[in-house]
Assembly symmetry: C2
Homo-oligomer: 219 residues x 2
DNA sequence: GCGGCTGGGTGACACAGTCACAGACGGGCC
DNA sequence: GGCCCGTCTGTGACTGTGTCACCCAGCCGC
């Protein structure tokens, strides 16, 4: 069975196109692998099959912020920018887990864009989604307080009512500094909304956090 | 002569397509006209011929930030989002000057996406450019100090060595509050880099401003 | 037990955003 | 001219954030 069957976005792809795509090899990516860094030219169009890739923006002071994450079935949009618009991208992509991905070489990619409506729709959809998510992120960074972003992130990532992450990891995800996260978490703990342990935040009052998360987000 | 000749991005468009597009009417947009607001469904794909349209993100406190500007020959990308991805966009577009634009209805737009490689490339290019500019904006907002953004904006908008704008307008463009702009401008004036008059900032030391603008941007 | 490493806490300080005002200027109106 | 009113600008106070420079507490391997 070709990997194509595992990429939902490409369901219904034309048979002729599928034949061209299906033979491309699936590459494994070890956890922690850096997929690209600023200034590097795009080698092709990447489709993620399993795992999770996180793309960060890195500031001059070393502070980082999570730009977006690539989930299975999605493509790495930044690589497309290089193929279409031409400009270098800023930001760094890191495999957050072990991953499998397919790299579509540039010439095949361009040919598919001309030949396959399904493929085109797939690429466009990915673009639209990214643009929207980046704008949403901008809105949060520009207008929302840290407390609010923190609460939202905790609720978002809670597995079994707890988040396993260091303060530094949380800080990176919401685009602030570790100390700030520590202080805010401390405040939340004092308010009885969470419990803190080394490398783990346990949620005690999800409703309270939800209230904070909505506080100045109000979208 | 059709308006098509005035849209550089569409140069080289296929004759058959041109015939379909060329007869669409050119609409005038008065200065200050609001093109769309959050939640509104996209009516079609807009191509700007003359003038300038500015798109703002608006926070819950009423603070605004300039997301991007649409220049002649460019398209309104947000409207495309609605046609492709489906989600509503946030943000508000306002005609900064009197404008002329062409509205391509949804069905024609979708047909062109399938039929015309040139049109496709035009739309894709616009997308890529927007995504990149929004990411660059995010980077500035997340990592750059107000002083730096202010200096960059002044240099950017200086006509004849002066910027005609109120502090409020400047604040909106760089995504901060009026008071902050007033204070920063005051500091720049004390440092001899600018001269302040009502509704006008005169640049006295462009090199000094350039140094500030590059300070923590370092791209 | 010891040393080093990582995660977490703290205090000090500068910058930014918000609120609440107070002046200052300009243009229209009499 | 003098007056009024709305817009633009300056200021002070206070809170939230980002950064720097530390220290402390666990944990691990040796």
């Amino acid at each position: 069975m070709s990997w194509l069957a595992r990429a939902e976005g490409l369901a219904g792809i034309e048979p002729g196109i599928a034949a061209r795509l299906g033979t491309l090899p699936v590459s494994p990516l070890p956890k922690g692998k850096v997929l690209f860094c600023p200034g590097e030219a795009a080698r092709g169009f990447t489709i993620l099959l399993t795992g999770r890739v996180e793309v960060f923006l890195i500031g001059p002071t070393g502070r980082e912020i999570l730009l977006y994450a690539i989930e299975p079935g999605q493509s790495c949009v930044q690589s497309t920018l290089g193929l279409l618009g031409g400009e270098d991208y800023t930001g760094e992509a890191v495999a957050a887990t072990g991953c499998e991905a397919v790299l579509v070489p540039k010439d095949i990619f361009l040919a598919l864009m001309d030949d396959s409506p399904v493929f085109r729709r797939f690429v466009f959809g990915a673009f639209a989604q990214r643009l929207q998510s980046v704008m949403a992120l901008l809105e949060r960074v520009a207008f929302q307080k840290v407390e609010s972003r923190l609460a939202a992130d905790l609720l978002d990532r809670a597995a079994d009512g707890a988040v396993h992450a260091t303060h530094q990891e949380i800080a990176t995800r919401i685009g602030t500094a570790r100390e700030v996260v520590s202080r805010r978490l401390d405040a939340l703990a004092r308010a009885g909304m969470v419990r803190l342990d080394r490398g783990c935040v346990t949620i005690e009052d999800a409703a309270g956090l939800a209230r904070l998360a909505a506080a100045d987000g109000a979208r």
